[in-house]
């Protein structure tokens, strides 16, 4: 499955994120954390567990419900020598504060000709599947990836989660770190077990901008991000029962996007299915397919396919939401139709 060293220290993504922040805060006094309920509560999704107890309220700050206020403050602090890690509790809340993110955090480096940097991390929860309805379940990968000037990452497992957070904090560029709620390890939400994997205790980085082939195969390339990777791996298992060998690519990053890994995989398999929990149109799935086809369409043995969320607000009722979400069976069906 996921290519990890066999060892004995498994972490949930929540713990891995907290550990990365802890180690960076120990190493670098300019790193601090801000957000709603991230201090004593340890974060709604467990990702700042233990930080308040170790570093105190100067460096681990609960904020008022003032996203524009504290996220634009993070921009200012980052431009003044600090390295803030700031949380937007649900990515769906971006609507109340997006100017600070896409117009300032993402553009100030450019506006300064590279003379100013904005070394901040914006971490935010994504994803549905547990009936949190239309304003608390979105992925919005396309929205953030589309706009220039900010790196965007989303781990599928704890090993990548820790390495990406460390890399994001050390990166002098602004990084949007999207963590999927169903991979976190929160008992009250149900967790994809495959996300909890061995995670080294020492600090390390995972390269931002590099995709990973997490399962080698020859007949079809399945490309996914975060939860999509786990859906793709399960689909690959099902396809294997019928003698179909699927290769699974974990994008890891949306910006920079590792098109080369995807292109090389499709050159080998000739078939492409993109799994994207974000809305179908104008997003990541279209971008991957366009990147492959405009590179060399002759490599494709069949039209590419995508398994995505339809272009509707996310419904509340469980059966409706499950009807809309990508899942392994839909990926298998997409292959069969090729």
């Amino acid at each position: 499955m996921l290519d990890q060293p066999t060892n004995e220290r498994r972490l949930t993504i929540a713990r891995a994120m907290a550990e990365a922040m802890q180690q960076e805060m120990q190493r670098d006094p300019t790193v601090f954390v801000m957000g709603e309920d991230i201090a004593g509560f340890g974060g709604i999704f467990g990702n700042t567990r233990g930080l308040f107890e170790e570093f105190g309220k100067e460096r681990v700050r609960d904020t008022p419900i003032s996203e524009t206020g504290f996220i634009s403050a993070a921009v200012g602090a980052a431009m003044d020598g600090m390295r803030p890690v700031v949380e937007l509790m649900f990515v769906d809340f971006f609507g109340v504060c997006f100017d600070a993110i896409y117009n300032q955090m993402a553009k100030n480096t450019y506006f300064s000709g590279g003379n100013a940097s904005v070394p901040m991390v914006l971490m935010t929860s994504t994803g549905g599947g547990y009936s949190d309805a239309g304003q608390h379940s979105q992925c919005l990968y396309g929205t953030f990836a589309h706009l220039p000037g900010m790196k965007v990452v989303s781990p599928s497992n704890a090993y990548d989660a820790k390495g990406l957070m460390t890399a994001a904090i050390r990166d002098d560029n602004p990084v949007v770190y999207m963590f999927h709620k169903q991979l976190q390890g929160m008992g009250w939400l149900g967790t994809e077990a495959g996300a909890t994997v061995n995670t080294p205790e020492e600090d390390y980085t995972v390269e931002i901008g590099k995709a990973k082939v997490v399962r080698a195969g020859t007949d079809v390339t399945l490309v996914g991000l975060a939860m999509g990777v786990h859906n793709a791996l399960k689909a690959a298992d099902k396809l294997a029962e019928d003698g179909v060998s699927a290769e699974v690519v974990d994008l890891v990053s949306l910006v920079p996007l590792d098109r080369e890994t995807v292109i090389n995989s499709v050159a080998k398999t000739g078939r492409l299915i993109v799994v994207d929990e974000d809305y179908h149109s104008f997003g990541v799935s279209g971008e991957i397919i366009a990147s492959v086809t405009e590179h060399d369409i002759s490599k494709l043995k069949a039209s590419p396919a995508r398994v995505t969320f339809p272009d509707v607000p996310i419904p509340y009722a469980r059966h409706m939401e499950q009807f809309c979400l990508p899942n392994p069976d839909k990926i298998v069906d997409a292959y069969r139709k090729m």
Binding site: E8, R9, R10, G187, W188, T196
Partner: protein
């Protein structure tokens, strides 16, 4: 020597409550050290940690989503 990994009696207050294993943080067959965090258990809405009582190789007895009570053996260390 075989050491049982039990749900500690003092992990939460209400003795009668059932809990659920939400995460195993060490694999079946992994080598663990005393005090290492090896599992997370949830009672109602609160998460608790279970640490290894000894050094050795872990054998998992109860799986994720299994229901356990205080004192139940969830694994063994040899």
């Amino acid at each position: 020597m075989v050491v049982d990994v039990k749900v500690p009696q003092d992990l939460w207050q209400d003795d009668g409550m059932e809990a659920v294993i939400t995460n195993w943080l060490a694999s079946d067959g992994a080598s663990v050290r005393t005090g290492a965090l090896i599992a997370e258990i949830m009672v109602e809405k609160s998460q608790f940690e279970v640490t290894a009582p000894a050094d050795g190789i872990l054998t998992i007895a109860k799986q994720i989503d299994d229901i356990v009570r205080k004192g139940d053996v969830i694994g063994q260390i040899t």
